[in-house]
Amino acid sequence: MLSYIVPFALTLAACFGIQTLALRFVGGKTNKSESNFFSSVARIQAGIRDHPEVMLLGSSITGRLPDRTGGFEGVANLGCDGGSAVDTLRALDCGLLPSASVLVIEGNTLYRSVGGHQSEIAKAIGSPWFQVGRQIPNLGATARPSAFAYSQLLVRKFGSSLGMEGPILPINSRPVLASTATSLGSDDQILVKEMVEVCEHLKSRKVSLLLVILPSGDGSTLASRQIPMALSHAAGVPVWDLTVGLPANAVKLTDGVHMDPASAAASLRTIMRELKSQKCGR
């Protein structure tokens, strides 16, 4: 039995050792897994580490935005593929995830959570293995060997992100408080009511909130605007529609829905510049 256990244990230790070194080499987070589910979970598990100042909450549209691993200091991306900002807002409200001092909430896909719908990511955040992966990075979704391999493949194909210095979106609009109440269906109203409560809880914990409608192929439906506008009005949270006044070819979409890396970086720079100016009290 010993002739089995010794090489077995040594191999296991060596694998974890190599993985730890690889995690350190990539700064604790792989860019993207080959799997949307694990990529989102990894994004969240990595995003909540080391006390970010700004958290980006949303769907896969948000997931395309760069963050601190892409040169945007203090920014963590918690975008959930197949989900919406509601998933992470609920988790923050319940204490399953720690919060940052500023939350940027993607409004495009809030409608996906109407009717009590819970995404796979939301279920994952509530599960024991998520918390284990949070405490032990080697067992987190970000540390999957396939994630390392796929990240390297993408870096070779698309290159790395562009950083804080660079162009912003050519728009003149700014965040506003939605002034008029929007007429919503009953299910939409239930969601908005729930989110108003969540926002109140977060604001009482001194968290600043900003709703944004990002440029995307999924941003032109009525639902993608009605709910964030209603939430802004009811909760007193500023909303910023980045598509208003945006020239037609200012943003490129890779698949008709999601921004390409350059457009995503420009969007985030625009948001960060506004947040910085708010902080400086302009």
Partner: protein, 512 residues
């Protein structure tokens, strides 16, 4: 309870510790262990829905009572009564299966039924694992009737406590949790003689570790990851028709590898778990994707089911003893019913039927092929009977044999892969849409499926490579097994299992 869940691991640890507790070595050790395993199996099964335990109880008590009557009449020499009770018990088991699994399907095809009946039938829940434990029940009944289960069966002859022990042991056979919900289907004559007190020092730990690590690796690392991508194959027909071949074909291959990894993984876990408790289960998969014919495929794939169908359906129907025509009918019928066993939908019947047709076709033409090959082999080499083994003639025949084997393997693998479409797709429209997409001429390609297919599918390819090595280079395979390679490989596999965090996904065969 899923094998790949935290609650199962805790359940297993507690059950194992109690099973081999010090008092299990005493006079009543067997009783303790069997009762504990039976209770644990009931907890395991009822974890998600305790109401289903009632159904298990009906199956257990019904089969026990019938078994007792059969033994009684066998001892009395009354074969007519033996057959009568055997028929009754088989009908009981099939009735349970029919009501809970097929009633909704049947009401859908019987014309002029009141709508309320159809709605009521659709409301009947499908109890998990019913296909498996009813087959175990039938195996118990038939093996006892045939006199193939004899050792402990006398406990059922007398009433009272000894009868209760018999019920306990039969319940244990029917409900033993490693095999309860998705097999392997272990025949009663194979399992029954093993029921005895077990000692921890008798556990074949190397086999346990080998089975568990390989099983969890195939399930957690390979199947669950592939399933995230192959789920696209179950989207709407419109989406399929709008996809291109570079997306669809890799996904189909991915599903072929996934279903093997899922089911073989589960079977290996079941085998490993049973071995932890001192019970030997037969292998359920023997590297099926090495097959060079559909006949061979069914000798390697889900062997416990094909063995069950052979012993309890094909042979009683006459097998191949009633002429070629009847043989083809029997083959087709067995495969048709075998397909339907997987689910109460026409697509499963179609899948089974197509396999049945392929089996019949192979049987029809295999004789001629065999004669052709034999004639080639008995032909003398150019250099005469005493020519050396390196003569060009012999080399030519060796090469053509390898080529024909490769072609046979290629055709078989792709036929099996294509037939998985009928298994997976919800309806014919989806299958048509799949082929529309494949022949659409589109060249767009999404990326992740090919990467995932290669990354995760390679494990299944290597696994079959290992199988080929064991069959064709046994000496080398044994050397590798005895070397340090196995523990190193297991270390890597365990690492990949542990670093693949995710919500436990169900097993494909749980739905049957």
């Amino acid at each position: 309870m899923l094998f790949n869940s935290w609650e199962f691991l805790i359940f297993l640890a507690i059950t194992f510790a109690l099973y081999y507790a010090p008092w299990s070595r005493g006079r009543h050790g067997k009783a303790w262990q069997v009762m504990l395993a039976l209770s644990a199996s009931v907890v395991f099964y009822g974890w998600q829905d305790p109401r289903l335990i009632c159904l298990l109880a009906v199956s257990c008590v019904g089969n026990s009572f019938a078994t007792a009557r059969i033994i009684l009449h066998k001892v009395a020499g009354d074969e007519a009564r033996v057959k009568q009770w055997t028929r009754r018990a088989v009908i009981l088991n099939l009735s349970l299966l029919g009501i809970f699994k097929y009633l909704s399907f049947l009401t859908g095809i019987i014309p002029f039924l009141p709508h309320a009946w159809m709605v009521a039938a659709k409301g009947i829940p499908l109890p998990i694992g019913i296909s498996f434990y009813t087959f175990h029940g039938i195996s118990m009944i038939v093996d006892v009737a045939r006199g193939e289960v004899t050792h402990e069966s006398d406990t059922l002859l007398t009433g009272g406590q000894r009868f209760a022990k018999g019920v306990r042991d039969i319940g244990f056979y029917l409900l033993f949790f490693p095999q309860l919900v998705a097999g392997p289907i272990v025949k009663a004559k194979f399992f029954w003689p093993q029921i005895a007190a077990k000692r921890i020092e008798d556990i074949a730990w190397q086999q346990v570790i080998r089975a568990l690590i390989t099983g969890y690796f195939l399930k957690v690392f390979v199947a669950d990851n592939l399933s995230e991508h192959t789920a696209m194959l179950t989207l709407s027909s419109t989406t399929l028709a709008q996809s291109g071949p570079l997306d669809l074909i890799p996904l189909l291959y991915g599903y072929t590898l996934q279903i093997f990894a899922d089911f073989a993984g589960y079977s290996l876990i079941a085998i490993g778990l049973a071995a932890m408790f001192g019970y030997r289960f037969p292998a359920n998969f023997n590297f099926p994707y090495l097959s060079t014919s559909i006949t061979e495929f069914w000798r390697r794939w889900h062997m416990s089911l094909s063995g069950w169908l052979r012993d309890y359906l094909y042979l009683p129907l006459g097998g191949n003893r009633k002429g070629p025509g009847r043989t083809y009918v029997n083959l087709f019928l067995v495969m048709f019913l075998g397909g339907l066993w997987h689910g109460a939908e026409w697509k499963f019947a179609l899948w089974g039927s197509l396999h049945g047709l392929a089996l019949a076709f192979e049987r029809l033409f295999s004789g001629k092929f065999w004669v052709l090959n034999f004639k080639c082999w008995i032909k003398e080499p150019l250099g005469g009977a005493n020519a050396s083994s390196s003569s060009p003639f012999k080399i030519k025949y060796s090469t053509s044999n390898i080529v024909s084997q490769v072609i046979a393997w290629f055709v078989t693998f792709h036929l099996v892969t294509l037939l998985w479409l009928t298994f997976l797709m919800p309806d014919m429209a989806s299958i048509v849409a799949f082929f529309k997409g494949v022949f659409s001429g589109r060249s767009d390609f999404s990326g992740p499926p090919i990467f995932s297919l290669v990354f995760y599918g390679t494990a299944v390819v290597l696994y079959h490579g290992w199988g080929w090595l064991m069959e064709h280079r046994e000496h080398l395979a044994n050397r590798l097994t005895r070397s340090r390679l196995e523990p190193v490989l297991h270390g890597v596999m365990l690492f990949l299992i542990l670093t693949n965090p995710g919500a436990p996904r169900g097993f494909i065969y749980f739905q049957f």
